[in-house]
Symmetry: C2
């Protein structure tokens, strides 16, 4: 049974996955911000979560060489470890089930306006 991750951890793992070999603090923050919108994501939250995920062995990191650009100090790049992949699989499967369940009732509201519910909102006796 894989480690189970929280909501924000899931977002961070997803960001790392999608960034491939360009995953470091700043880019992860950008990706995470898009995933979590309209909610704001602070940089501090990202780094703290990266630390914890690394402690749990779900991701690993290595420090790069500096790049020849203004402010181009070295970056800490992250990658998903096998444990992290399994945790994300499980967690994403639950996300899918949630989305599908909500969609069955409300329709695909993310694509526009929310539709009518299947049943009328009658209260039990």
């Amino acid at each position: 049974m894989p480690e189970s991750v929280g909501q924000f951890e899931q977002i961070i793992l997803t960001a790392i996955l999608s960034l491939g070999h360009q995953a470091y603090g700043v880019t992860i923050h950008e990706k995470a911000t898009r995933l979590a919108a309209p909610k704001k994501v602070s940089l501090g939250a990202v780094y703290v979560t990266l630390d914890r995920l690394e402690d749990k062995g779900l991701i690993s990191s290595r420090l790069s060489d500096p790049t020849p650009a203004r402010g181009g100090r070295s970056k800490r790049f992250y990658r998903l470890e096998a444990l992290g992949e399994r945790a994300l699989e499980e967690s994403a499967a639950t996300a899918k089930r949630v989305w599908e369940t909500v969609t069955e009732i409300w329709g695909d509201f993310a694509e526009g306006v929310r539709r009518r519910p299947k049943w009328s909102p009658v209260r039990p006796k």
Copy 2:
């Protein structure tokens, strides 16, 4: 900007939504267990979370009359409030984005075996 909910809270809200007017502790527990599988969900966790969601005004409850069945004591039925609907909408939209992002890389692994990644897992320099 809607209240934001955690992972388990999202599952509970989703369970309530999908149960319609049959949402009370035991049925919510069953739904939540299916949504969160293979992870186990304890009944205690469900009730604590229901309490907190009610305190925050995302759901409301009312006590029913007992039913004439063995052990048929009265149930506390829950329903989504407007705040809860908005919180779930936002939260489910993020779940969708996570699922889609993961799917772009790994394919729809929930339907069977995980496919190959789009890029090779090369580390940065």
